[in-house]
């Protein structure tokens, strides 16, 4: 591995491949989810993973943390979780000489990679505590603000099946996630592999192949990837087209209540830059935008009642948009 500060593009690719291969030793399949999660991390953003239980979401995040040698913490969200359980709190302690004072006890959010498991089970108040940390990269407790470590990523999960007793994330907070990835059920072969690996005497272990500094360097390198004017204009047209008024997509006009914010455009561009580098290119292309669009936009399209009632998916709308908005 080369020095992170002078990371070359080849080193970028090699490192990314190493990371994916290393994680792949533990996680079977889910290459797309892994790739996009890595892209999300390298973009400096947070990722929301949605999938039914038992698909390895937690394992994926934990393994990523190990491979990237990042300080990892897991927060299991439950309805009784309090904000202080996330951020930390002041506790009283004896300082000796009969004196007592308050000391801030950091919460699990103080890590490089935070797994927020089943984030939709916690109350909005608790959710907001995490989301503030995601946005500001700081935590404020009793008027005192504490910076979070860098790099700082939140990989949140949610279960799409159990909706009872859950608190769906509001749109404004969903918008803070760079990507939302759907974790699908493995294929039969993949499931077979999973069974072989996880029920054997020895389970695979991943080792660290990169550090947090590498990640930061890769982030900085990726931001310099040039994007042509017509491609960036295409991104702008896509974001505008997600809004029903004047959209070229009939699906958007009919089923979308509100479209993506400029954060969606940022997600598209940042993700496309990293994808371009991973594909061995030094510039962003229309194909990169098209590949990133579903992950970047599916959680940013607010469907109206008719869309929800008719079972229209955000992915279908994104696909329609990519067709209708000419590159």
């Amino acid at each position: 591995m080369s020095e992170p500060q002078t990371l070359s593009i080849e080193a970028f690719r090699e490192t990314a491949v190493l990371i994916q291969n290393e994680v792949g030793k533990v996680i079977v399949g889910q290459e797309d989810v892994l790739q996009f999660t890595l892209i999300g991390i390298l973009s400096g953003g947070h990722v929301l993973l949605e999938g039914v239980p038992g698909l390895g979401k937690t394992m994926l995040v934990r393994t990523l943390g190990r491979v990237l040698d990042l300080q990892f913490s897991r927060i299991q969200f439950t309805p009784d979780l309090m904000p202080a359980d996330i951020t930390g709190t002041d506790i009283m302690e004896d300082r000796g000489n009969g004196q007592r004072g308050f000391r801030f006890q950091q919460g699990p959010v103080f890590a490089n990679l935070v797994l927020a498991d089943e984030i939709n089970r916690a109350t909005p108040k608790t959710q907001s505590a995490l989301l503030e940390a995601m946005q500001e990269q700081t935590v404020t407790v009793a008027t005192q603000t504490y910076s979070l470590p860098k790099p700082f990523f939140v990989l949140a999960t949610q279960n799409p099946i159990e909706q009872e007793g859950t608190y769906p994330l509001p749109e404004a907070q969903l918008d803070r996630f760079l990507f939302k990835l759907n974790v699908g059920f493995p294929s039969a072969d993949e499931l077979n592999e999973i069974l072989m690996r996880t029920t054997a005497g020895q389970t695979a272990q991943a080792t660290a192949v990169a550090t947090g500094e590498h990640v930061v360097a890769m982030q900085q390198l990726a931001r310099n990837v040039p994007i042509a004017t017509n491609v960036s204009q295409h991104v702008s047209q896509l974001i505008v087209a997600t809004h029903p008024h004047g959209s070229p997509s009939e699906l958007v006009q009919k089923y979308v209540r509100y479209g993506a914010s400029p954060r969606g455009g940022q997600a598209l561009v940042l993700g496309a830059k990293i994808l371009a580098l991973l594909n061995g290119r030094y510039n962003v292309s229309f194909d990169d935008i098209a590949a990133i669009a579903p992950a970047a936009l599916r959680h940013r399209l607010l469907l109206n009642f008719e869309g929800q009632a008719e079972g229209i998916t955000a992915d279908a709308i994104v696909a329609d948009l990519l067709e209708k908005v000419q590159s």
Binding site: I9, I227, N230, R281
Partner: protein, 544 residues
């Protein structure tokens, strides 16, 4: 960006763009030719409905339009000069470069910012990809099969249109023959007009008189929308005007006018030359004879002088009603001779001689003008016949026969027209009518009418001079003129080829019907424009 790299990039993009334009020219060239042939097809369709072009001309038009379309199509592909950025986008889209070229160009042009490291890496990557592509293989010169099939179909259809007979061919040939004839006659009229202007024997007023109808006719012939009928009518009108001018300026028949004077002088042997001159109607000769007479006066004896005085007095008397000034001149000479004033008589005779000489000159000028006007009228009449017969070649026998058949339709009318014109006082019908039937072989318009080969023959009568034709006058009783219904006896006296009087219908009973028919024909525009006046006048002159 290094200069060399930038040049290499532009060169690569130019090569791609050139190939792209060549590809486009193979698409747009045939499409342009197809568009040209489509226009030609429209022209071909029109040429089959209207007399526009011959098949050969249509073929040339089709070739020309196809060629122009082909060139325009090619030019459309080649003349469009895209900017470097557009070339880059074109290359990215066509060669699957994934925006490498566009990004490299925009970095070079400063449109987007990046680190020098990335700029260099990206440029090298773009150049490498461009060089690695076989442009010829990536942009094959494909023929758009559909366009070429349509083009072939269009060529076949147009070929058939050119090869098959055009139903308008005959009509077109006729139209063009008419147009050419009109143009040629217009040129002839221009030459005639110029001749008149250059004629030193004509004064300005005379030139104007002669030029007026010619210039009017010329203006009508040179108008772009002049039809054959209008040309014939115009020439006919001009010819008539010139003929009328000829008649109006023609000097009187001196032989007739001076006959009484000649008779009065015939018995005197000293005035033999003068007598002969008057008999010949030659004023110049009479002037010379009178001058000689004045010169010879002193040689005459008293008796001769007295006889001469009597002769001159009788001559004066004979001319009193027809030529007052000449009569007075003769009387003056006679009076001087009676008064035995030789000098006065000589002077009077010399003045008379001068007067006769002057008259002779004027008569000669008038005669020349009249003859010239008549000649022009004849030439215009010939032009009219030429125009009327233009396009008549190759018409059917029936049409040709109808054109020359004096019995057909207007032929009989022309005879009646001539007769009607000749008879202005009362109801006159003479042998002139019969003569007119024979000479009424006016020119026919033949098949040159606006309906082409299906046009009916229109008989254009000649205006015939009936002044020398002896007719048999039938004087109508006064009560017939006032009350035509009372003219039962007239029918018996009216010359008619019908011997059976019971078959004769009173003229007044049928005139109204014929007049109605004439008015209907006039209003329905059936009668040629220039002849409407004649028809109207004819029926007006026949009114009881």
């Amino acid at each position: 960006m290094a200069e060399g790299d930038y040049l290499a990039l532009t060169k690569q993009l130019a090569a791609v763009n050139g190939r792209f334009r060549l590809q486009q020219s193979l698409i747009w060239g045939p499409r342009g030719a197809l568009l040209g042939l489509l226009l030609a097809a429209i022209v071909a369709a029109l040429a089959r409905l209207r007399p526009l072009l011959t098949n050969q001309e249509l073929g040339m038009v089709a070739l020309g339009l196809a060629g122009i379309g082909l060139v325009v199509g090619w030019l459309w592909a080649w003349l469009k000069r895209p900017s470097l950025n557009q070339q880059a986008r074109q290359a990215d889209a066509a060669l699957g470069l994934q925006e490498r070229a566009t990004t490299a160009v925009e970095i070079a042009e400063g449109a987007i910012a990046t680190t020098p490291f990335f700029a260099n890496q990206q440029r090298q990557d773009a150049l490498a990809q461009l060089k690695a592509i076989d442009v010829a293989a990536a942009l094959p010169l494909n023929w758009n099969r559909r366009d070429w099939l349509l083009l072939a179909l269009a060529i076949v259809l147009l070929g058939m249109a050119v090869w098959l007979n055009n139903p308008q061919a005959e009509r077109l040939a006729t139209q063009r023959a008419i147009g050419q004839a009109i143009a040629e006659e217009a040129n002839e009229l221009e030459a005639l007009a110029e001749e008149i202007r250059q004629d030193p024997n004509l004064n300005e007023a005379q030139q104007e008189e002669l030029l007026a109808p010619i210039e009017e006719a010329l203006e009508a012939l040179q108008a772009s929308d002049t039809s054959q009928e209008q040309a014939v009518a115009t020439l006919s009108e001009a010819s008539t005007e010139l003929r009328e001018l000829s008649e109006s300026v023609a000097p009187p028949n001196l032989q007739e006018e001076l006959a009484p004077a000649a008779e009065a002088l015939a018995e005197n042997r000293d005035t033999t030359e003068l007598t002969e001159a008057f008999q010949d109607g030659s004023l110049n000769q009479a002037s010379a004879a009178t001058a000689q007479l004045a010169e010879n006066l002193p040689t005459f004896n008293e008796e001769t002088l007295s006889q001469l005085a009597d002769a001159l007095a009788q001559t004066s008397e004979s001319l009193e009603t027809t030529d007052q000034p000449l009569s007075e001149a003769f009387q003056e000479a006679a009076s001087a001779l009676d008064a035995q004033d030789l000098a006065a008589a000589q002077e009077a005779l010399e003045e008379l001689a001068a007067e006769l000489a002057e008259r002779g000159e004027e008569t000669a000028v008038a005669e020349a003008l009249s003859q010239q006007a008549q000649s022009l009228a004849d030439q215009l009449n010939e032009s009219r016949q030429t125009v009327a017969q233009a396009g008549a070649e190759g018409t059917s026998e029936d049409q040709q026969q109808a054109a020359g058949d004096p019995q057909a339709g207007e032929g009989a009318t022309s005879g009646g027209l001539g007769g009607g014109q000749a008879g202005s006082e009362g109801q006159t019908q003479g042998e002139g009518g019969t003569a007119e039937l024979e000479s009424g072989r006016g020119s026919g318009l033949g098949s040159a009418g606006p309906r082409g080969g299906d046009a009916e023959t229109v008989f254009v009568p000649d205006a015939v001079d009936l002044s020398n034709v002896e007719g048999e006058d039938v004087e109508l009783p006064a009560e017939c003129r006032a009350n035509p219904a009372d003219c039962g006896g007239l029918l018996n006296e009216t010359p008619s080829e019908f011997e059976d009087e019971t078959s004769i219908v009173p003229y007044t009973d049928v005139f109204g019907d014929y007049q109605d028919a004439a008015n209907e024909a006039l209003s329905d525009d059936y009668i040629p424009l220039g002849l409407k006046g004649y028809v109207r006048d004819y029926f007006s002159s026949l009114e009881p």
